[in-house]
Symmetry: C2
Subunit: 204 residues, 2 copies
DNA sequence: GAAAAGGATTGAGTTCGTTCATTTTTGAAG
DNA sequence: CTTCAAAAATGAACGAACTCAATCCTTTTC
């Protein structure tokens, strides 16, 4: 019977994630010390490092959970896309963007993206990169679906196009989180402009 | 007569930049302490903070100088582009990529990009963002030049297309510096594939 | 059930980026 | 030349992320 240790481990992981998530949101990533997280989770600082390799990786674990939700939500939209190239793409992108600030602040996004570039080898950095690839693949799938329905040129490579669209929306999102004062509406506006251009290109 | 103070300031700035640049390259960003830089530059640690707001900003100052060179080199190519859409674009991109590892290690690029996302408000972070915009504008200019020469469809918006191309090459560069083992040749290969696709799209 | 073995927790200690009160240097005024 | 004000340099002190040797719990073995 090897259950107690496992259960405690899962329980502690959950408590640490929960504590960090709430504290980061409430006080900001930089303002929160590992000791604060440890105290809230009722463990010691050292224990946090048994579960997460660095403070940044702990943040990426939280962000990854959020991105997982977005991937899940996107699946539905891709399997049953609204008609029209512009509509469909804009809808998927809006889904991504609108989820982004539900549980995470701009500061958290900045730190998370920064950390995933700076330390690409940590466990949750790799996970985050994977999830990004899934989002990119999702855009590709949507474009392929649009092609099948005759809403987009058939002769274009959906894989290449999808990556292009994803890169663009990703870069706009980076610009968005870099500008603390920029409201979500502005992101929508610039995104819609680019999306309609791309959609026009895709229709040929 | 207010010359000595200015001269010493410029001299110190140069010594700090030079020391940091050499040490970062030789030992890696993380391995170098501010005190090491200060000692090499023959100033105190505190003085480094009179000239650069943080260690990361000091790195971005160095990286920015490198990017400035690339912008300069790109100007020549854009004003006199080689014939053919694919050739021209590929040439400019190759110029960017090949300069990248001359004076900077992958680790330095990772840290620099991470810092510019994480702390977008510091002086050299803003400078770096500006320079990125210049590179993006350069790609736009090249595309516009190609359109004028009849090598690209006239009905496409060069500004939008340029940003798309820049986002794509930028993202590929991020993937490149994130993978320490990836050789420059691989970056060229993936880049060429995407570029030819995009060039085909641009020709219509 | 006792006890040995292995794993996990702990918190004091180390390191390094950053700050700031103090001291030193520079430029201008008398 | 002396004095004064302002600017810059200094390095000791601080704070927080991270490490690690010692300790404490589980699990397994007999």
């Amino acid at each position: 019977m090897t259950g107690l240790r496992e259960k405690q481990k899962a329980n502690r992981t959950g408590r640490i994630l929960d504590a960090a998530s709430r504290l980061f949101r409430a006080q900001g990533y930089d303002a929160v010390r590992i000791e604060d997280i440890a105290a809230t989770a009722e463990v010691s600082a050292g224990t946090c490092y048994n579960y997460f390799s660095t403070k940044g990786d702990l943040l990426l674990a939280i962000v990854s959970m959020e991105v997982e939700e977005v991937v899940e939500a996107g699946r539905a939209l891709v399997t049953n896309p609204p008609a029209g190239t512009g509509q469909a793409l804009a809808g998927l992108i809006r889904l991504y963007y609108d989820h982004s600030l539900n549980y995470l602040s701009k500061e958290m996004w900045r730190k998370a993206m920064a950390f995933s570039i700076e330390a690409p080898g940590t466990p949750f950095s790799q996970r985050y990169t994977e999830l990004d690839a899934m989002l990119s693949a999702q855009v590709c799938d949507l474009i392929a679906a649009l092609q099948q329905r005759g809403h987009a040129r058939q002769d274009l490579d959906a894989g290449v196009l999808g990556q292009i669209v994803f890169n663009t929306l990703n870069q706009m999102f980076i610009d968005f989180v870099k500008a603390d004062a920029m409201p979500l509406a502005d992101l929508h506006r610039t995104s819609d402009a680019q999306t309609t251009s791309l959609a026009a290109l895709m229709r040929g």
